[in-house]
Symmetry: C2
Subunit: 310 residues, 2 copies
């Protein structure tokens, strides 16, 4: 791919579409939304309004670190604290589809939809990539229509436009562009992290306490596997419990699953055959988390499993 | 250990205790109850009544194979079909302690207690080993009192006696005696299998359908790991489900955990570092079971995990 030509073309298209107007986008800190932010900021400067929504579902320190990384590049990002709204929307839900829907609705309709109206932006930038579109068409992911998601009916509200500058690229192409744009490695090489964030890694109800458990496990797995070269690695908190022994007494404990996969574009994935000393070390650290007494390694490729659990 | 002296002593003690009476025992097919059966049969001949209780919780073909193995050694074992009673007792239960209690009560009180009374035996032989006693004392296993379990109050029913000829041995000692007694390898070297059988390997409700799933997974794991030399290997069906993809569609599938451990006496256990080709092969076979789309490998030693899940 000729990255320079790609960047020039996207910058020109964004400029032509937005004209003298204002555009808005949500930054998650992942490579897709980061590249969109840099492309649009290059074109629009301070006519781009970028928001990071703290959903309570992010990893340890992620909201603050992402804002700082972009501040260091001269790109202002506004942090929106929506933790209470997400936790309230997820309360009592255990069905995976309902959980995903609650995160999507809270993100797009409640929080981002409100920001779009407050800012008065008529242009929304979105980090959709080719794999997202293909999986939506194939029925693997749910319908992907951001205007409907933020509560705007295109028929009634003529004038809103969604720009998807990465919709012809797969993940590897996005990383190439990210490197070409000079994004730091921690973003260009950042492992994928799903939109519904840690909610996809909790089987059963998402609560503050359970988020704290899976967040600690995630920190351990990311620390231990940072140099693995794998495409993605993650920790999942199951809802099931299993018996164990702590200080010579039966204990009914929680279970963490570790998953580490190789892939080029997330359409298919194979399990990484990690060294046993590494797996043993991860297990010892994971079972030191309060209430956790089992650590399992996921052996399943995609398909038949997906990468995430919810 | 001097096996011959041990066997002679136990045969003498059983003979002295039972005298001209009748004794009864339940055979599970495991090494402990098999050794007890052979010792007692050697002493008592047809004054020993041995029963195999088919609880619906056994592995594929296990009841019939066990009866045949003992018939081949000239020891008659009566097969008792109690499948409906166990399934009824387990219906609707999800709490691990309640499930174990239901299996124990159905086994001892309902089925074995009835047989004891029908036979009129005053002597019960039981395969308790030293580890069972130690874990009961330590509070890891529940109270272990077979007379109370079969509904006989020792105070009121003077005359009943429980004989536990293996109570000074650990698992490795029992295997030594088994080999010395000429028991076939498939029994002397048989991997441990818990009393509540497949009920300990189903997280959540035990139903015929879920038993069929974990039974198929158990057959696969036992076939694949028969030559592993491991102390114990097993398959567990979780109650949680995870997303997957089957024929390009989202599928909300079941999860099987594979566990393979080394141990001398089950008090402590370490995880066997199986070859990745073997794990991959097991995963491929497991995820061909209808409705199963994840296969996980348990990385946790005992402690902090136990060997079984329930």
């Amino acid at each position: 791919m000729d990255c320079k030509a790609f960047v020039d073309q996207q910058v020109a298209e964004i400029g032509a579409a937005v004209g003298e107007g204002t555009a808005i986008n949500a930054l998650s800190g992942g490579v897709d939304s980061s590249v969109v932010t840099v492309l649009a900021h290059r074109t629009l400067g301070d006519r781009l309004k970028t928001f990071f929504v703290d959903s309570a579902l992010m990893r340890e320190g992620e909201p603050q670190q992402t804002v700082k990384t972009f501040a260091d590049m001269g790109i202002p990002v506004q942090l929106v604290d929506a933790r209470k709204e997400f936790l309230a929307a997820l309360k009592g839900l255990t069905d995976p589809e309902q959980k995903r829907q609650a995160v999507t609705d809270t993100f797009y309709k409640t929080v981002f939809g409100r920001l779009v109206k407050e800012i008065g932006a008529k242009h929304l930038l979105h980090g959709t990539i080719l794999t997202d579109i293909e999986e939506t068409v194939a029925g693997i992911k749910r319908q992907h229509n951001i205007l409907a998601q933020i509560g705007i009916d295109p028929e009634e509200t003529y004038g809103y436009a969604v720009l998807e500058p990465l919709k012809t690229l797969r993940k590897d192409g996005v990383r190439e562009v990210a490197r070409d744009l000079g994004l730091p490695d921690k973003i260009a090489e950042r492992i994928p992290f799903p939109g519904p964030a840690l909610a996809t890694r909790i089987v059963g109800e998402v609560t503050e306490e359970r988020l704290a458990t899976v967040r600690t496990a995630t920190t351990i797995v990311e620390e231990e596997l940072a140099d693995s070269g794998a495409f993605q690695y993650l920790a999942v908190l199951l809802n099931d419990r299993a018996t164990g022994i702590r200080e010579n007494r039966r204990e009914f404990g929680q279970i963490i699953v570790v998953r580490c996969i190789d892939s080029t574009d997330a359409r298919q994935a194979s399990v990484v055959q990690l060294p046993w000393e590494k797996l043993d070390r991860i297990c010892r650290r994971i079972t030191q988390i309060e209430g956790v007494n089992r650590c399992l390694y996921d052996l399943t490729p995609k398909p038949p499993a997906t990468i995430e659990y919810v």
